[in-house]
């Protein structure tokens, strides 16, 4: 497996031959690994590469700021260098990185703090930013420049780094101490990449804007290659609650992971292993699992072989275990989500829904939905869909996403939109769907679409329906008001016409008739506006009038129809 061959933290230094072999394997592995897996890492084409580079850096910055409880302020700048080359600059006000760690974090693949924890975060695998560095290096040959400062008292450090692809280790081109004025702490990354810049729903512009929507506590200053600067100021002065790391829930583990856990644990008995390495497993539950799997609770975990572990899986399935705690999930929250949407999508009506936490395969998650309706949004096109997982915009693979299915399966006609079977709703509307989870299930490593778990789709639909109901009542009310106004308008516009004709017939003054009719309208306005029943009664006369037309039809033949 690529990952294990890459990992040079090999514990088996006492075995020289294997060590030797491992070294040989590494000589080709990093670059090759990248080449083989670039599509998995989001570098399948030049256009997407630019997005991925920005995305990895911004995700890291946001995660770092939140972990350090700092209100994020992130500067993104893309400069066109010609010849399909772009310089990408990302600067944050995060905690900075201590000098010693800079080379490892940026120039060593699979180095990071998030890989093994079960905690809601944007990044997960410690591969993103170093993959971006590697991509830059492979396409332009230039090193990545990192500047970091950790406090006002400390000096800033500048590094120019490359990845030594033969050893997967950092190669320091330049290293110097410097002064970073007007900056207390933070990181600035500068790298050149081969890429294509495009506006539109799948470009960097959309990514930054959408990121601003779901991160209302962050400020973004973005300059695109056309030298247009966009500032997305924060809408909230409160950082989201810090997510907690949780141990895995037994229902959520797969056989492979369980096998690995069994081998790695330091617990001496199966009983202890179950109670301490998992959440929601107390002594009683652990005993029940052992019983259900016909295993001795006193067994040493390392003695468990493949068949035993399979039995253990069976036992877990048979045992009733309470759902995992859900306080590890930090949703954006209805209020903030609406605020975020409000500042970036001009519309006339907003609403948002945060569902209570639910669980898929033992992994807790929360679904949030927001709607922005009306304004200048086009009414004759499908609604704009913005999808997010853990506050990260998902710009590709829309049709493969669970949210797409949930939206299509929701009956939007009920809420005043038009929709044909199996299609997205049509109307002046933006729909936001956000999944927050300690482990968002993606359909592929590229993290572009949420997998179709029935529990997730069901929650999404419930959230969409709840938001839809609010939308529907607004749309209906609006329609009603418009109808009433239209009714008044009819009379207001007809009065001068009728008055003019009557004046002509009778010789009475037009102004006098108009004034008298206006007065009547004014007096009856209330009645016309309010009295729905009256108007419906009138409408019900429509069919009978219509009928008389039908009857008249019979006589079409008879009269001069020139």
């Amino acid at each position: 497996m690529a990952q294990t061959t890459l990992n040079n933290d090999t514990k088996t230094t006492s075995q020289p031959i294997a060590h030797e072999l491992a070294k040989k394997q590494k000589e080709v592995s990093v670059a090759e690994f990248f080449e083989r897996n670039r599509h998995l890492l989001g570098f399948d084409n030049k256009r997407k590469a630019l997005l991925t580079v920005v995305k990895e850096a911004v995700d890291n910055s946001l995660d770092a700021c939140e972990e350090a409880r700092i209100m994020p302020e992130i500067i993104v700048e893309i400069v066109e260098m010609g010849n399909d080359r772009f310089r990408v600059i990302i600067e944050d006000n995060g905690p900075g990185i201590v000098k010693k760690q800079i080379p490892n974090i940026f120039a060593k693949l699979l180095y990071g703090s998030k890989f093994h924890t079960m905690k809601q975060a944007r990044g997960q695998q410690g591969i993103g930013i170093s993959a971006a560095v590697l991509y830059s290096q492979l396409t332009t040959g230039r090193p990545t420049k990192i500047k970091s400062k950790i406090s006002p008292k400390d000096p800033a450090h500048i590094y120019e780094l490359r990845i030594d692809t033969s050893t997967n280790s950092p190669e320091i081109i330049k290293e110097e101490e410097t002064i970073w004025n007007n900056k207390d702490h933070g990181v600035r990354i500068e790298m050149d990449v081969e890429a294509t810049y495009q506006k539109g729903d799948q470009g960097v512009d959309a990514y930054v804007k959408q990121t601003a929507i779901v991160n209302p506590h962050a400020t973004f200053i973005y300059t695109n290659p056309k030298a247009e600067q966009m500032i997305y100021p924060r809408a909230s002065e409160h950082l989201p609650k810090e997510p907690m790391a949780i141990k895995p829930h037994p229902y959520g583990v797969e056989l492979g992971i369980l096998l690995k856990m069994v081998k790695q644990t330091e617990k001496r008995t199966l009983q202890a292993f179950l109670t301490e390495e998992f959440s929601r497993v107390g002594p009683g539950t652990a005993k029940e699992i052992c019983e259900n799997s016909s295993l001795d609770p006193r067994m040493k975990p390392e003695q468990l072989e493949h068949p035993h572990v399979e039995k253990l899986m069976e036992g877990i399935k048979k045992t009733k275990i309470i759902a995992p705690s859900t306080d590890c999930i930090v949703p954006i929250g209805e209020e903030l989500l609406e605020k975020g949407l409000r500042k970036e999508v001009p519309a006339e009506f907003y609403c948002s829904v945060t569902r209570p936490p639910e669980v898929y395969r033992g992994i807790p998650f929360v679904i949030e939905v927001a709607v922005a309706y009306g304004g200048t949004q086009p009414g004759d096109q499908p609604a704009r869909i913005l999808r997010f997982a853990n506050r990260v915009p998902l710009l590709y693979q829309m049709s493969a996403c669970a949210s797409n299915k949930a939206i299509i399966q929701t009956d939007w006609r009920r809420y005043g939109m038009s929709q044909s079977n199996g299609a997205l709703p049509v109307g002046p509307m933006t729909l936001v769907v956000h999944l927050a989870s300690v482990w968002p299930p993606f359909t592929s490593e590229a993290k572009e679409a949420i997998a179709h778990y029935p529990e997730i789709i069901k929650e999404m639909k419930l959230a969409l329906q709840e938001a839809g109901r609010q939308l529907g009542s607004y749309v209906n009310k609006k329609r009603r008001v418009a109808d009433q106004q239209q009714r008044i308008n009819i009379f207001e516009n007809y009065i001068p016409e009728v008055a003019a004709a009557l004046a002509d017939i009778t010789g009475e003054k037009k102004e006098i008739i108009t004034a008298a009719m206006r007065k009547m309208l004014e007096k009856n306005k209330e009645f016309i506006m309010r009295n729905q029943a009256q108007v419906q009664e009138v409408d019900s006369e429509g069919p009978s009038l219509g009928k008389s037309y039908e009857d008249d039809d019979e006589d079409v033949k008879e009269d001069g129809k020139e």
């Binding site: 016409e497 009778t506 009138v538 033949k557 129809k561 020139e562």
Partner: protein, 361 residues
């Protein structure tokens, strides 16, 4: 409303009434009899369709009525102007005189001619004057020929000396004076082409009659002219149409009146009209079955409707025709007779039918 002396006065009275209501703060409204099947009755005594007593109100301050109200008032205004200058306009003219976009809206006062036509009918009912009297005419559509001399607008016209085209019947025949009428009967036919055939064959000369036709539609002018010939000169009226539900319907309208013009039954209907042909029996008699045209769905529906008309329901002769037609599921045109020779219709078919008094009542 009490009948006003002349049309112009009638319109002015109508307008004054409405203005009076407005000044009093009373809902401006127009009251017209309902013109639908539900408010039309067949008067067995007179043998015509008559309008019932149901009235419908057109209130201005009512979303469903406002536009119709406006349309009727607009038509009244246009009509008053026509009467004032003594000019005549066609239905189409009136449509264009009224049609314009209402300021601040996207709607026109009238979108289609049917709307202005309707409003004109409303005005007829409101003023109790026919549209011809209101100086609104339909297009001239019919031709007539025969040994008749009339005076129209100061000119003397001899219907027997007008070449191949005949006299074209004006839409308003009220003021025509008959100087000489030398005929035993009148044949009205649905098809202009058949009229041309008979005219070319000098059928009216040989048989001492009047032949009249229109372009499929029986205009008011023609109906009125037929009625005058029937009333004033006691001429029998014979109707010649295709053997199809539509043709039978033409006969029905001429003889009994129509829902639309039920308010004008007295001046329009020809209670003495008789149906000459083409009957289903004619088709069998002359072996024209191979010239049948198969029914479309609409024909089937139409036939059923007609056969259920009150005035046909108990008429066994007509019911027999309907039944035969239904049995064949097919119709035939008058021109099918030409299969027996180009002048078969004038030399044999018509003279025989009239001689034998072979018609339906």
């Amino acid at each position: 409303m009490a009948k006003s002396k002349n049309p112009k006065e009638a319109i002015e009275d109508l307008g004054k009434g409405i203005v009076k209501d407005i000044m009093k703060g009373k809902q401006p409204e127009l009251e017209v009899p309902v013109r639908s099947l539900s408010n039309v009755e067949f008067n067995k005594k007179s043998g015509t369709l008559e309008l019932g007593n149901k009235m419908s109100q057109r209130q201005f301050f009512n979303v469903a009525h406002a536009k119709k109200f406006l349309q009727t008032i607009e038509i009244a205004k246009v009509t008053k102007d026509l009467l004032a200058v003594g000019k005549h306009a066609s239905l189409r003219d009136v449509f264009y005189m009224v049609k314009r976009t209402i300021p601040n809206t996207k709607t026109d006062i009238v979108e289609e001619q049917t709307e202005s036509d309707k409003a004109i009918e409303d005005l007829e009912l409101l003023t109790e004057f026919s549209r011809e009297q209101l100086n609104i005419n339909a297009n001239k559509m019919g031709s007539v020929a025969g040994k008749v001399v009339v005076e129209d607008a100061g000119d003397t016209i001899d219907w027997s000396r007008l070449g191949s085209g005949g006299w074209s019947i004006p839409s308003n025949v009220e003021n025509i004076k008959f100087k000489k009428v030398d005929a035993d009967y009148v044949i009205y036919m649905e098809k202009a082409a058949v009229w041309e055939r008979l005219h070319e064959d000098k059928f009216w000369q040989k048989n001492n009659c009047i032949i009249m036709s229109s372009q499929g539609q029986t205009t008011r002018g023609i109906r009125r002219l037929l009625q005058r010939l029937s009333d004033e000169h006691k001429l029998p009226i014979y109707i010649l149409t295709d053997a199809d539900p539509y043709g039978y319907y033409i006969y029905s309208v001429l003889k009994f009146g129509s829902i639309n013009l039920a308010h004008m039954s007295q001046t329009m209907t020809l209670t003495n009209a008789r149906f000459l042909g083409i009957t289903m029996d004619d088709i069998e008699k002359y072996g024209l079955q191979k010239h049948f045209i198969k029914f479309k769905d609409v024909d089937v529906v139409r036939l059923k409707q007609i056969s259920e008309y009150e005035w046909f329901k108990n008429n066994k002769h007509w019911q027999r025709q309907f039944k035969m037609m239904k049995g064949y599921g097919a119709k035939a045109e008058i021109q099918a007779l030409s299969a027996r020779g180009i002048s078969f219709i004038s030399d044999k078919y018509l003279p025989e039918k009239i001689k034998n008094k072979d018609f339906l009542d």
